[in-house]
């Protein structure tokens, strides 16, 4: 090792030349052990002599509020002036790595749960050092010293130092290994509803935030890429001559995924795509449509699959069952469709390169760039911008749009921004997989569930990715998560999965496996409640041992005034509870069904993430997850015809709009358990809560998504 400090310095020096003259601690005892147990305040906090305090963020900000939440941890312990702190995306360095592997990662709703304690310690360590430095200068006891708003204050004399004035004193100090953390009651930010940091919020409402698409530099050129419409199609030949005659076109070249047009301006490049004549070899997949995939998956459903969970004796339980519930489910391919179309800027300068993009997997994207350009990873300077939405799409396992940019800029003199059109984004895959599932429940005479059988058919998501360790024994994490570990007390299980292959690339999509397991589990359990003739919340509680879940159901029952809900014509209420990413979310949806349509009018949402670090952001993320999930509940689907996606843009890939947004009430239950994730956790329960509400209104079960009232 010993690599961290040097590369860190190099990276940050390139990003900000001011860094080295700011607060920098020589890191001791680094060479011989892993990075985990050592505090690296210098990697996270930069204090300039003028008392400008900047936090370096290794986690990506894509809307989920991570910058604010992690900064709250540092600032609270540091006693920094909250409004005055600045943010800067960090370079790539192992000190920012994920706990899951040797790369930086913003995914799986893990930023806060895995980083908050470290960030608090970092803030507390520097705070302790600043106090010590001031104590030495004043020849005072530490007990006579306090810190406040980026100042160290002598309690008796009222003398003050800014943190910046003490930078040279703490530079040579050793870093306290176990700094004392504040008690919760003494925290001014942690646990308090805190708005998105003003510096970030103001940049976003005035259009000043720099997303990947906004990167500008001297001599920047722009590229658009002509991609095959059919998945897996290849180029036989192409004629760029007409396109080359057009204004602004600099170069047209073949890259592995298509034909890149480089132009002075992007609109010129994009328009030129229509003037390239291509002969495609469409390949075998051109014969395939959604109906064919459906048949293939149905055939797999009839065959034994890889075992995901097998305990007890399901055959016996079903034989002895008083009643049996069975259901078939279908969930379509889904595009993520973040608002900022995918893009990456690359400047290949011979023996080195620079790249700019907003990514959730910085190290992976940097390494892909190095590999394609034949460079050492350290020779590639990676700059992470803000992300105009992620939802998993900007953690592309196959790095598709990143590779397009790298191949386009390879060996070119200019820095080039390669920008995908919205049509590329909708049509190029990396979808949430299509699934066809089957489930059966055995119920005894009292209506208790005695056995749970399920079969999941869908392309694996994590296999052959950096999260490949989550693909085990032929079973993919996205196939079982939320299904095999459902919260109910059931004695017998037989759960299996099939992993079909396809030229359509698939990818994790906000809340990953729960997008298909939550509608199955919480749908069929709701059917069991109905079969048993018991209130859906009371029934769930009767089937649960998990106290946190029970308490949360009682909470959502209370805030939705469930027991006093009125029976109105065509109006229904549905409930669902899902444990995901270390947290639990319960929701009640109120839905009004009209002739061929439905409107979700209200959602009551109770969340237990252990400890609510920023309650306001948790509320925002619950609202966000519900509105995001509603799109896939009601509208969104990618269908395949003759090997192509049938959808193109927001006119045929429909998403939630403001008129669809229900009134949402959020209740936070601080259970005091281990802190869990938030960004994805409101998505899973909304699918079944709405489907169950529609059943309540109409008496009809909708097992598949999106729900089309018939």
């Amino acid at each position: 090792m010993g690599l961290s400090r040097r590369t860190f310095l190099k990276n940050t020096a390139l990003v900000s030349s001011a860094f080295i003259v700011g607060f920098y601690l020589p890191v001791k005892a680094r060479a011989d052990e892993g990075a985990k147990e050592i505090l690296h305040p210098n990697a996270f906090i930069k204090i300039d002599a003028d008392n400008t305090i900047t936090f370096l963020m290794g986690q990506a900000e894509m809307g989920q509020g991570t910058y604010t939440a992690l900064a709250m941890c540092i600032a609270d312990e540091l006693d920094a002036d909250w409004e005055a702190v600045h943010f800067q995306a960090s370079g790539i360095d192992p000190v920012y790595n994920s706990v899951f592997g040797p790369w930086m990662l913003t995914a799986g709703s893990t930023s806060i749960s895995t980083k908050q304690l470290e960030m608090r310690k970092v803030g507390a360590a520097v705070n302790e050092m600043l106090k010590k430095a001031a104590a030495q200068k004043w020849d005072a006891a530490l007990s006579d010293i306090k810190t406040e708003n980026s100042h160290v204050i002598h309690i008796k004399t009222g003398d003050k130092f800014t943190y910046g004035e003490l930078v040279s004193d703490i530079k040579t100090m050793s870093i306290p290994e176990n700094p004392e953390l504040k008690a919760l009651k003494d925290c001014s930010l942690i646990g308090k509803p805190t708005k998105r940091h003003p510096s970030e919020a103001w940049a976003k409402v005035t259009g000043q935030t720099e997303y990947g698409i906004d990167v500008r530099m001297d001599n920047l050129k722009y590229a658009a890429v002509l991609h095959p419409a059919v998945f897996g199609a290849t180029i036989v030949s192409f004629d760029p001559s007409e396109a080359l005659k057009r204004d602004g076109i600099l170069k047209i070249k073949q890259i592995p995924t298509g034909i890149a047009v480089i132009a002075e301006h992007w609109f010129q490049a994009k328009e030129a795509l229509n003037h390239i004549n291509v002969v495609w070899d469409k390949g075998e997949f051109a014969k395939i449509s959604s109906e064919d995939i459906r048949k293939e998956y149905d055939a797999l459903l009839d065959k034994p699959g890889a075992s995901m969970r097998h305990d007890g004796n399901t055959a016996k339980a079903f034989k002895e069952a008083h009643s049996i519930i069975s259901a078939d489910y279908e969930f379509p391919f889904l595009a993520h469709a973040p608002m900022e179309p995918l893009n990456c800027t690359v400047h290949h300068t011979g023996d080195s390169a620079k790249m700019w993009t907003g990514g959730q997997v910085q190290t992976v994207y940097r390494n892909v760039c190095a590999e394609i350009l034949g460079l050492k990873p350290e020779a590639v300077e990676y700059n992470n911008t803000f992300l105009g939405g992620g939802f998993g799409r900007r953690a592309a396992a196959n790095a598709d749009y990143i590779k397009d940019a790298i191949y386009t800029a390879k060996d070119e003199a200019w820095p080039i921004m390669t920008l995908w059109t919205r049509e590329d984004d909708i049509r190029m895959g990396n979808y949430r997989p299509m699934y066809k599932n089957k489930a059966r429940l055995a119920l005894n005479q009292y209506g208790d569930i005695t056995a749970f059988e399920a079969k999941v058919v869908g392309q694996p998501v994590v296999k052959d990715t950096i999260l490949g360790f989550l693909f085990k024994d032929g079973v993919d994490w996205a196939q079982w998560d939320g299904l095999t570990d459902h919260p109910y007390s059931i004695a017998n299980h037989d759960m299996q999965a099939h992993s079909p292959s396809s030229p359509i690339p698939v990818l994790w999509w906000r809340s990953v496996g729960h997008t298909q397991t939550a509608p199955l589990v919480e749908g069929i359990v709701d059917e069991a409640a109905h079969k048993a003739g018991i209130d859906p919340i009371a029934y769930r509680i009767s089937m649960l041992d998990d106290l946190r879940c029970i308490k949360l159901l009682l909470d959502v029952q209370r805030i939705s005034d469930w027991k006093n809900r009125k029976k109105e014509k065509n109006v229904g209420y549905g409930v669902a509870i899902v444990k995901s990413f270390g947290s639990i979310v319960a929701q009640v949806a109120k839905v009004k069904v009209t002739k061929n349509d439905f409107k979700v009018e209200n959602v009551w949402c109770s969340v237990d993430c252990g400890f609510a670090l920023n309650p306001l952001n948790i509320e925002n993320q619950m609202i966000s997850g519900i509105n995001f999930g509603l799109a896939a509940t009601k509208y969104s689907e990618i269908t395949i015809k003759n090997g192509e996606a049938e959808q193109n843009n927001f006119y045929d890939y429909l998403v939630t709009r403001i008129s669809d947004a229900p009134d949402i009430q959020v209740s936070i239950v601080n259970s005091g358990e281990k802190i869990g994730g938030i960004g994805e956790t409101a998505v899973p329960p909304i699918f079944p809560a709405v489907a169950n509400a529609i059943f309540d209104a109409t008496g009809k079960r909708y097992h598949s998504l999106p729900i089309k009232i018939s």
Partner: protein, 151 residues
């Protein structure tokens, strides 16, 4: 050919094909990147700017259609109503990823310029063309309702 554009109080001369959408003139010829590309098909509203006070989709408005009309973008620093709306957005903690918010705010500015006290139905109707994948709609509604545009 050279076209004169009046944007946020400044007059610019741009030399660009007049069949270019205004969005790309703003973003790439003038480096006014606050106005965003989202769909290129007038479906999402991320590119919304005001043309003589009315909200338009700049991705589907060509340079030749502008004439001598005044363009107002998210980068405007002098319009009191825009400032008020931006303050309301921060106060209500609206932005998440933030990418669509330039368009949301400009659309809301167009709405409130025409109708200082819109009803819930009018807000939904006027804002329905602006997509936010983060689903900040509830906060947007609250922010617009809280603005007393006439004051």
């Amino acid at each position: 050919m050279t076209t004169k554009l009046k944007i946020d109080g400044t007059t610019y001369d741009v030399t660009v094909d007049e069949d270019t959408p205004l969005l790309w003139v703003l973003r790439e010829y003038l480096n006014l990147t606050g106005t965003k590309y989202g769909c290129g098909a007038a479906q999402c509203g991320a590119c919304t700017v005001l043309l003589d006070g009315k909200a338009i989709r700049s991705c589907a408005t060509f340079l030749k259609e502008i004439g001598d009309k005044e363009i107002m973008t998210i980068a405007n620093t002098t319009d009191p109503l825009l400032k008020k709306i931006q303050e309301a957005w921060v106060e209500e903690d609206v932005p998440q990823c933030g990418y669509c918010q330039s368009g949301q705010i400009m659309n809301a500015t167009g709405l409130l310029k025409a109708n200082s006290n819109p009803t819930e139905e009018e807000i939904l109707a006027e804002m329905n063309g602006n997509i936010c994948r983060c689903g900040t709609y509830n906060r947007i509604k609250n922010a617009i309702k809280k603005i007393n545009a006439g004051a």
